[in-house]
Amino acid sequence: MSGGTSRGAEGARGEEARARAVAAAVVDPELPMITLDELGVLREVRVEDGRVEVSITPTYTGCPALDAMRDDLRARLTGAGFADVRVRTVLDPPWTTDWISESGRRSLAEAGVSPPGPAPRRPAGPVPLTLGPVRRIRCPHCGSADTTELSRFAATACKSLHRCNGCREPFEHVKEI
């Protein structure tokens, strides 16, 4: 292999790493304390022949934030000097809260949003009915485990609404999915 091609390949890898770093720093429009990378929504960043191709996956099918994410990614990458940017949607495999990174979970908790527990593992057969509370959810403000679920649907589909019986503060929890 000649030095020229090796430098070229290194340059392409460098561009890809730079594009990935720019895309990874874009924050979620509805959870601005966490980046798309930490949320697990950013699936892939590739650079080929100068074109950046970013793959993202929706958290929920109807999540209107997906369009905002697409626009933000395009604007930030264009701003970083990448002229040709494509943003692809990927539906398979479906997003799960298990993809939220450790640093993302810490950022959520620091912002007063309770991070999700492990996503439910499904037994074989029909999806079982879940009628009782799934798990004790800790208050992100005071750490108390004495909390009450107010509603399984909060301001966005991805969160449920709770109240702490210790400090009396309401808080949101990212639902396991």
Partner: protein
């Protein structure tokens, strides 16, 4: 900060980011391989996706009508979130239908016949809709909303769960996401059904009445339209008759916990799937489609 300033601050940064309050949505299937797999008939796939998409679209609209009418703020937000999930499923399914419709025709016809999800949602008349009639019946009281959501989401969850192994990879992927969402919808409806049915005399009476009103429409959930029969045979769809046992078991469990009687099964029939609808759908569409038809292509 005044409201005007807050709105300005959202809009200022990026002209394209209008998602919070206007038009400008992208194709929900952008960048996804929309080709129709071998052995799958494009017209049947389109017709089948339209059925599932119309169920979600019309049910979403009925839930949206609860905005500013729900008995408490938390429940208002919950119904709106469920409506949003279903609207998202409808967009993907109608987009899939539009993409599959053109296949089997020559190249020049293709570009002209590919319909966007907006064209399908806003420019078809009632007889062209393929939803079951359960979702189009006008809203009643809150018990009616909850019982309908229980019946609808129990049925849809069973369908979507089986569709995760559809021979159409796009439909399979939409179903896999939908299962997770609709499981939350069903459990939410089940919890409320129990709270209302096993609640006060008044809430029990109203929930029982809602069940009496809605139950006759369940026969249509298990009727098999010829498109569904072919879709199931070709491996990309589900024979609705196959989900009846699961529906009966889940609904029976919830009704027993809610101290409500489980009505006798209704004979299967095909109506909405073949375009036979009640007058209520026409009124719903007049409301849903009015703006798009009066101002085609309007943006704001």
């Amino acid at each position: 900060m005044s409201f005007d300033n807050a709105l300005g601050a959202i809009a200022e940064d990026n002209d394209e980011a209008r998602w919070a309050f206007g038009t400008g949505f992208h194709d929900p299937l952008a960048g996804i391989d929309a080709s129709v797999p071998d052995g799958v008939d494009g017209a049947d796939l389109a017709a089948y996706c339209l059925m599932l998409g119309d169920d979600a679209l019309v049910m979403s609209h009925r839930l949206q009508e609860w905005c500013t009418h729900a008995p408490e703020l938390e429940e208002e937000v919950a119904l709106a979130n469920i409506a949003l999930d279903l609207l998202g499923q409808a967009r993907l399914l109608l987009a899939r239908a539009g993409a599959a419709m053109g296949t089997g025709q020559d190249e020049t016809a293709l570009t002209e016949t590919v319909l966007t999800e907006d064209a399908l949602a806003f420019f078809r008349d009632a007889p062209e809709f393929r939803n079951v009639r359960l979702v189009e019946e006008p809203n009643g009281d809150f018990a009616h909303a909850i019982v309908r959501l229980l019946l609808f989401s129990t049925w849809r969850l069973a369908l979507l769960d089986r569709l995760t192994s559809s021979a159409d990879p796009v439909l399979a992927a939409v179903a896999a996401k939908g299962v997770k969402e609709v499981a939350y919808h069903r459990d939410h409806a089940a919890l409320w059904t129990i709270r209302l049915g096993d609640g006060t005399e008044e809430s029990h009476r109203r929930t029982r009445r809602a069940l009496d009103v809605l139950w006759p429409a369940t026969g249509e959930l298990f009727g098999v339209h010829e498109v569904e029969r072919r879709a199931a045979a070709a491996g990309f769809g589900v024979d609705p008759a196959d989900v009846r046992a699961e529906f009966d078991a889940v609904v029976g469990e919830v009704l027993a916990a809610a101290a409500l009687p489980c009505p006798a099964p209704v004979p299967a029939e095909v109506a909405g799937r073949g375009g036979a609808h009640s007058a209520a759908l026409g009124a719903l569409l007049a409301d849903m489609q009015g703006l798009a038809r009066a101002h085609p292509g309007a943006t704001w």
